[in-house]
């Protein structure tokens, strides 16, 4: 099971700056191991973010997003105490959801 994400949601005026750090290998499918075999691609290809359960952002990623991906975005109209959820799904069908509170 994948490690938890680190999510920070900070209120700035009427918006919340959200910063997410995910733990994932993000294999591109281009790399070879020491025996010269191609390492199969394994990366996060779907990211969804919610504010109090309502979807505010969906993103699709390719293999060229860095290992242990970082994502920053801002949600409009967020208030202190609101719940920001982030979930991802990778090419092996694994997924992970985590939540943070706006402060």
């Amino acid at each position: 099971m994948a490690d938890p994400m680190r999510i920070r949601a900070q209120l700035a005026g009427d918006k919340a700056n959200v910063r997410v750090l995910m733990a994932h290998e993000m294999e591109s499918g281009q790399r070879k191991d020491s025996a010269g075999n191609l390492v199969p691609a394994w990366y996060i290809n779907e990211v969804t973010s919610t504010l109090n359960g309502k979807v505010v952002l969906t993103a699709e990623w390719g293999p060229s997003v860095s290992k242990n991906p970082f994502l920053q975005f801002a949600i409009k109209g967020a208030k202190a105490g609101d719940k920001v959820g982030v979930s991802w799904k990778d090419t092996k069908g694994e997924s992970r959801s985590d939540e943070a509170t706006v402060s």
Partner: protein
């Protein structure tokens, strides 16, 4: 009389609209996006997404280092001040597949994203804003990658 090319283009636009409203079946949406993520060039990505030819715009900004010491972790920001943005794309021109990330913008989020990308070699980095009407605007910036260099 529509040519086959036009028909394909229109169906891709309709597919995009449906996908953005959430009415589109999941599997079909995945098919459209897969093509975009496999496309080799910036123009091919936009074609796969059903967007028009991109126009350079001052209202779109792309940020990144002038020189990236480590091509595996290149911080890139993409933002726009244009209203009516549907998608923000981040592209690295000389990667094996140009499209790095695609963000579906809703009314609740700002069209301003930061993430980190892998880059195989020095290349132009693009931020593309795809509008709801299919128009596309872009900004580009050259990022030099000094893999294994002394960091100067």
């Amino acid at each position: 009389m529509q040519t086959r090319r036009e028909t394909l283009k229109h169906s891709a636009i309709v597919a995009g609209l449906l996908a953005s409203t959430g009415l589109f079946p999941q599997f079909a949406m995945a098919a459209v996006d897969k093509a975009a993520f496999q496309a080799k060039s910036v123009a091919d990505v936009l074609k796969a997404l059903g967007a028009g030819a991109p126009v350079e715009s001052k209202d779109v900004t792309v940020g990144g280092p002038d020189i990236a010491e480590n091509g595996a972790v290149v911080p890139i920001t993409a933002s726009t001040t244009l209203a009516g943005v549907k998608q923000i794309l981040v592209l690295v021109e000389k990667n094996p597949a140009a499209l790095v990330a695609l963000f579906n913008v809703t009314d609740s989020v700002e069209a301003n994203f930061a993430t980190r990308a892998k880059m195989g070699q020095s290349s132009d980095v693009y931020a593309v804003a795809v509008m709801a009407d299919g128009k596309a605007f872009f900004a580009k910036k050259e990022v030099k990658v000094t893999l294994g260099g002394c960091g100067g």
